[in-house]
Amino acid sequence: MRPGPRERAWFARDIVTSVDSTGERVLLHLPSGTYLGLDRSAATIVDLLNESPDERQAASALVEKFGIPYERALGDVGAVVAAVQGLTAQRVNRGRRPTVAGVRVVALSWWRLSWSYKWTAILATGVMVVVEVGLKLVGLSRLARWMGVPLATDQTVPPVAGPDDLGILTGSEERAYWALGWVLARWLYDGTCLRRALALGWFLRRRGPVLRLGMIDGVGPVAHAWIEIEGRAFNSQPVRGTFSLGAPDFGS
């Protein structure tokens, strides 16, 4: 963790929130790509700021709601703004170093594929390189938009977990689906759901896919990314809720 620049302007569009399996609020700051855990007070302040970015107005609302001194409320609001905009998580997973033996195994494996799969696997590799560079250099919102699978931030019911419905895909799309899985299984970085969602979204971009994020239900602080096309989710998992703009309404 390292402190970043303290820009005091609050932009609600930079922030999406959800809840984890314990019911605790989780915030994703999109420009920095950092997940933050919020206690109840912090979540309340974030919601107030999302309604109105004026720190004094949020402090007044805290005073009215909890009967605390105004100066304390204003200080807490300022602390939340500084923390959300300044806390940044360092990326830990830096991938694997390729070995000669590993390259040989992958090359042989690729050579055994049919020609149509060979070419699709090369294309999928190129897409994964773009995804990898994008994840290092630009924010998720921009990268997702560039890949043709914009991040959806509306509140929606989490999808039912189940196998992907490949029946709606054309032959070339289905080939891309499998080729991408083949590449991800051999990729230098973990073939995570986020990488899969961005790359698959690019292959299926003509269908107008959207990227969604949520906290996995029942396994600590782990998030999940998937895409949705025409109401169908690809790589769906049981999530507690989806990340969305504004205060979430989780129902239960």
Partner: protein, 53 residues
């Protein structure tokens, strides 16, 4: 009805987007239909790309 108590806000860093967005089906080995190397065969632990999906 209990009155809501206010405490100083606490914010914790959970992790980086790329590291933490990694849920999936551990150990699932993707392969293409008809691949001659033996599709659906689970690789040994630690094989690149099989930690998460």
């Amino acid at each position: 009805m209990a009155e809501e108590i206010y405490e100083a806000p606490q914010i914790t860093v959970l992790g980086d987007l790329t590291d933490m967005t990694q849920a999936g089906k551990p150990g699932v080995y993707f392969d293409m239909p008809g691949a001659s190397e033996g599709s659906k065969t689970l690789p040994p632990p630690g094989t690149p790309g099989t930690g998460t999906s």
